[in-house]
């Protein structure tokens, strides 16, 4: 097995990606005229990678949530619908009956269950997503890669933002209430801060630990408190090639535009190419071609519009 990042030197936030054996050696497998750019994925830039023939066809106009998973921790409904989850959480958390249950625990319960369910789907597809959700002031929120700094809701409200940190050495700001995507050279994260009360507020964190390459099992996009987060998947050609045909099958609860960003597998901060594509409500397949002197494995970020429910069914790369 070959990986893009060494665990020994990686930061704690690192999201690792399995890469094919030919990664870094591709130039040896192609004619000399192909050049050495194949070994330098980070050098691929917009002018060296073309996206052509982007088109979408509708497979079904019906939006279905089949194939999603539950948290496995609670008896939560299998859904991406925040209202349905919130209704379930209100019924399940005995705020009125139990003196040690507070109002903020309802969204905390709902968001934890939602996050765990998405982590289960990502794991089923072959990757690893670390998540956490709950009271971010006390007791605090930590998903193993990322944590909210413990601040009272009063302070967060006053600042209009809060802080997430990796191991204390790196900090990033999240609008509060709001959601933010954080991409660093090694890390891929999404954080949400919401339900600000006087002291307590609710935070939810998603961090990729191991990227799933070319997934073919359904994965729901995270959807928390009116925000929809991105999914990061590995784009892995089966062999070095100057052409990749890509097929992305997704289900959406509404017609919308998806944002696609291809990032370097050697430095996630480097966006090699980005584009958007309209998709209809229901199930649809978006096809496109990538053309370059040589295409190394990359990371694909797919971002739906905020407040929508989307399920990624399949991401295929040929060859």
């Amino acid at each position: 097995m070959k990986l893009n990042i060494d665990q020994k030197t990686a930061s704690v936030e690192a999201a690792r990606m399995k890469v094919p054996d030919w990664h870094g050696k591709a130039s040896e497998m192609l004619p000399a005229s192909a050049g050495t750019i194949l070994d330098k994925g980070s050098e691929l830039s917009e002018d060296k990678l073309r996206v052509r023939g982007v088109s979408t066809s509708q497979d079904s106009s019906t939006y279905s949530q089949s194939g999603l998973m539950a948290s496995g921790v609670h008896d939560d409904p299998v859904t991406l619908d925040p209202q349905e989850l919130n209704d379930w959480a209100r019924r399940d958390v005995p705020v009125e009956e139990e003196p040690d249950c507070a109002d903020w625990m309802v969204p905390a319960y709902e968001q934890f269950a939602h996050a765990e369910a998405r982590a289960n789907e990502y794991s089923r597809a072959g990757g690893s997503l670390l998540t956490s959700g709950g009271g971010a002031y006390m007791p605090s929120i930590n998903n193993g890669k990322l944590a909210f700094k413990s601040e009272s809701a009063d302070t967060v409200s006053e600042d209009g933002a809060t802080i997430v940190t990796t191991d204390g050495s790196k900090t990033m700001t999240v609008d509060a209430p709001g959601a933010s995507t954080f991409v660093t050279s090694e890390g891929l994260h999404w954080a949400v801060a919401n339900n600000l009360q006087d002291q307590q507020w609710v935070g939810t964190l998603f961090s990729t630990q191991e990227l799933v390459n070319n997934p073919s099992d359904p994965i729901g996009f995270p959807r928390v408190d009116g925000h929809t987060g991105p999914l990061f998947v590995g784009h892995e050609p089966s062999r070095p090639s100057i052409l990749n045909r890509v097929s992305v099958t997704a289900r959406s609860d509404t017609a919308q535009s998806l944002q696609f960003k291809l990032r370097s597998s050697l430095n996630y901060n480097r966006v090699i190419r980005s584009f958007s594509q309209d998709i209809p409500q229901g199930k649809s397949t978006t096809d496109f071609r990538l053309l370059s002197i040589g295409i190394n494995p990359m990371v694909m970020e797919i971002q739906p519009e905020s407040g929508t429910s989307v399920i990624l069914d399949d991401y295929s790369v040929f060859p």
Binding site: P99, M105, E210
Partner: protein
């Protein structure tokens, strides 16, 4: 034939050897992350099998020498979540600070489990920073009933309430090797064949209860040159009816050079005389203890040293070090030298 060495190549770096693969599939179809030890490049199958077997019959002559006073707690790292709290290795040392910061108000801060969880979170997130200088571990603390407490492969069973935990005397935690019971006001380490996780629980009988989980991803590699605390949860007079939980440090004792004889040395700081469990665990199956000993370290900083021999060579093993009473604050160094 079982595999004992897994090869992993990293782009631009080269080959790495590990005792377990990066991921495995559990019987329920989910993938999980085994606890891995990086192996030195000289290791072969014979060392991983015969070497471990030979080590089981070895005896150690351990020397413990006090070399100075206990190191100040300032040498520990801040919690990234609670950077303004005092540095501590025990929940008992900081819980009053947390209670003062956010007193119970019966509307948002509704019970003492919030304070316990926050204290555990501070201790464990500080420990994670220290441990992860050499490896990869993750922890989570919080309300195990409602918000849920989970790391990648270990999570509490969200169907239990705090009152059930008190009546059962334990809470249930799910791990890659199945469920295990964690005693109330105490904790447990699950050493399974290829995974290691720890959990601690505290319930006063209300609806919510406080839980913590830790997953050891890659074991801390030696040499250890900076302090790693021993988290001590629920010890002290505040917590009655349980044993408390002293979370072990588990290190990857992989000899950098091949030899039949190695000298192991490490330093520990303790605020009083204390017994410490010291065990070698089989790198091919962590549930098996190869050999076990109890050390007694005096108050202060002690240097511990012993020789270890095995044929064809001293193999890598997982070293489990567990404070038996809540006094040991940190292991400050750990190294191994071929003789």
């Amino acid at each position: 034939m079982p595999e004992f060495i897994f090869k992993e190549r990293v782009s631009g770096v080269g080959q790495r050897l590990y005792n377990n693969p990066l991921t495995k599939e559990a019987p329920d179809g989910r993938t999980y992350r085994p606890t891995r030890m990086r192996l030195p490049n000289w290791v072969d199958r014979d060392v991983m099998t015969e070497g471990v077997d030979d080590l089981a019959s070895a005896s150690f002559d351990v020397s413990v020498e006090r070399i100075s006073e206990a190191r100040p707690l300032d040498i520990l790292l801040d919690s990234p979540i609670f950077p303004d709290l005092s540095k501590a290795y025990s929940t008992e040392q900081i819980i009053d600070e947390i209670t003062e910061e956010a007193p119970i108000d019966d509307t948002e801060i509704i019970d003492e489990w919030v304070h316990n969880s926050a204290a555990n979170s501070a201790i464990l997130s500080g420990w994670t920073r220290e441990y992860n200088r050499n490896s990869l571990a993750s922890t989570d603390s919080g309300d195990a009933q409602t918000s849920g407490v989970a790391v990648r492969d270990f999570s509490f069973d969200g169907s239990e309430t705090g009152s059930q935990v008190v009546s059962n005397g334990s809470a249930s935690v799910d791990g890659p090797a199945g469920e295990f019971d964690v005693p109330n006001n105490g904790g447990k380490v699950q050493f399974a064949e290829d995974s290691i996780g720890a959990s601690a629980v505290n319930s006063n009988g209300g609806y919510q209860f406080d839980g913590s989980v830790a997953q050891y991803g890659d074991l801390a590699e030696i040499p250890i040159e900076e302090p790693i605390r021993f988290p001590s949860l629920y010890s002290g007079d505040r917590y009655t009816g349980g044993t408390g939980f002293e979370m072990p440090n588990v290190l990857n004792q992989a000899p950098p050079e091949e030899s039949e004889n190695q000298t192991v040395s490490f330093n520990m700081s303790s605020n009083s005389e204390q017994d410490v469990k010291f065990a070698f665990r089989n790198p091919n199956d962590y549930s098996q203890t190869v050999t076990e000993n109890t050390l007694t370290v005096p108050e202060g900083t002690s240097e511990v040293e012993f020789q270890v021999s095995a044929q064809p060579a001293v193999p890598p093993v997982a070293v489990e070090m567990q404070d038996q009473g809540g006094s040991v604050q940190s292991v400050e160094s750990y190294s191994m030298e071929a003789q």
